[in-house]
Assembly symmetry: C2
């Protein structure tokens, strides 16, 4: 090929954007030009990527022109508007938002689980799953490949950075209010001290847990809970999978945890589950409770893999495993998975470009 | 009857003991003498109960003499040693520890669920369940009575006071360390700031969750997790019930929460579940997420009932309900249930005494 693909990072100035720039500086460099795009009010800022200062440009039709791959790390409404425009101009879009995840013409890709799905993208858009799904799917997918998943019951312990910088700011502020006090012992004392402004959360999150995230959906379920179900089904290509998810926000800055009860079609053993998890790409098995070894958010924040511990076979059901996973919701849960998908597209385009096809043509190539 | 039964509160100076003295001052007064007992080093302290100062006596064979009912709010090893001594002297013991819960000759009683079990106590000892079981059992038991429980998958969000004053102190100290900092964003930064002394927990609990509580048991399960299974089976008289529990410590001072996935023998509806929960003694239904109504620890701490919200029927299984419960682990989870059991024994003894039987005879009376 004559050139490496050009990349646009849309949302470069956000929290996930910052992690993306780190990743681009650390990973093998598969990119030609890298263009940083953001809202007009962030234009003109300079950010470092691959060791060089790079000026942030305002996102518009002009700045999306000539891009081979555009990663979108922006809110859902921004992605819904701009991703089709980028795709229409010939870019392959990799979108981290929920805007296109359930579109049947948009593949939902986790490279460790369904790498080939990225090739079939009729709209020129590829979606990356939500951060809670990404906290569990690599481990669950590896076990599914061996045992055949039939049911998932999961309870999430979601970090506040899943709600963006506003979530982190809310927790930090509330922690300053409650630290050094005797709060947390009488009804509503934390709520009164924190006040009505609980930031992006439906209640105070310091000295508390809040069993709600997302927006109200059918029959009492939250959007975040239904996403875990819908995304898991789509990624594993198990449209009838039974999934019951509960999302609870906890006073942790970054790294989502999930308590997973997984039922399989075939009998399981902890030994075999350990072997699978210990050898699966993107997974670290950390499971010796007697030695104090199990994943916690404070230990795994800032790292790439899904950490798995507390692996137990149900005492009442030889086809069920219980385990606890932790994963950084800003890395694998957002920027990292998006970068991995974009890199797989880059490899494909590079091969296509080498064969003399345009990026647009290569984007529709299916093996 | 000529007199009200005499009560001994063993462990009066502890956290659960303090709540017990509050409860004794608030509830209808069914007791004659109330004697406060504790370890020799706490003897001589004066505590208020029923509006009067009362001197704490050292626990020994003499101070247990002449007691009709003895509530034990002490560690397991202390209860294991002293409860049989109190029973041998004629007292009916109501023990909040785990020492006797699985003894087939000791009933495990939650008055809202199995009140009659208290009457059959061959050892003169009645046990109260653990705080995590008590957070969920009243709601689960009410639904079981209607729908027939067949399986439970639960994930707990356990408050630090479940580990006693040392747990509360550890969280308060760690919170002071992390408040006002940027900790929680790089691997191990919280662990390094907190240091090796994480109190009674297997890891730092500020800005973190710790998926471990209790001691290591068979096949990777923790003692706390197996207790939820064993206790639930015994209280509901369902020896073959399938239970998978995961216990996780969270940075909350008081009030345990549990995410419950319950499967039943019969089809369920949210409407009927709401009716049952809204009319069950000891339960408050608080379930309107669109209005921000769901239980959180900060709201329910210091209250007696089990609070239930987020009631949903599984989208994939019309016999499964998911819901979220919160309960104060020091009230219903410890002192309150113990007090309720003791009061039911008092009523029985009073009836027995009225009929001219001794407390010892009444203790063996079975309807």
């Amino acid at each position: 090929m004559s050139r490496k693909p050009a990349l646009a990072v849309v949302g470069a100035t956000g929290a996930a954007g910052a992690v993306m720039l780190q990743i681009l500086s650390q990973h093998a460099d598969v990119w030609g030009d890298i263009r940083l795009l953001a809202s007009p009010r962030s234009a003109g800022r300079k950010l470092a990527v691959r060791g060089e200062e790079c000026e942030v440009l305002a996102l518009d039709e002009d700045t999306l022109r000539g891009v081979d791959v555009a990663v979108f790390l922006v809110p859902e409404d921004v992605a819904a508007r701009w991703a089709p425009i980028a795709a229409a101009q010939g870019a392959v879009v990799v979108d981290a938002s929920a805007a296109f995840r359930m579109d049947p013409d948009v593949p939902l890709v986790v490279p460790e689980i369904n790498p080939h799905a990225v090739r079939v993208r009729p709209r020129g858009i590829v979606a990356s799953p939500g951060c809670t799904t990404l906290a569990l799917i690599v481990a669950v997918g590896a076990l599914h490949a061996e045992f055949g998943l039939s049911e998932l019951v999961v309870s999430a312990y979601q970090a506040v950075s899943g709600a963006g910088q506003a979530g982190v700011a809310a927790l930090r502020e509330q922690l300053s209010t409650v630290a050094g006090t005797r709060l947390g012992t009488t009804p509503g004392d934390v709520r009164r001290a924190v006040g009505d402004d609980t930031g992006p959360f439906a209640g105070p999150v310091a000295l508390n847990v809040v069993p709600w995230s997302g927006t109200p959906q059918q029959d009492g379920w939250s959007s975040e809970e239904l996403r875990i179900r819908d995304e898991t089904r789509k990624i594993l290509d198990l449209p009838g999978l039974r999934v019951a998810a509960t999302c609870v926000r906890v006073p942790v800055v970054t790294a989502h945890s999930v308590s997973v009860h997984a039922r399989f079609e075939r009998a399981v053993t902890v030994e075999r589950a350990h072997e699978i998890l210990a050898t699966s790409p993107g997974v670290v098995l950390y499971d010796d409770p007697a030695a104090g070894d199990f994943p916690t958010p404070a230990d795994v924040v800032g790292t790439d893999p899904t950490w798995v511990g507390r692996v137990r076979r149900s005492l009442d059901d030889d086809r069920a495993l219980d385990f606890f996973v932790c994963g950084d919701n800003l890395r694998k849960g957002a920027a990292l998975n998006t970068a991995q998908v974009a890199e797989s597209v880059a490899a494909e385009l590079t091969a296509g470009l080498a064969a003399g096809r345009s990026a647009g043509e290569a984007a529709y190539a299916v093996d």
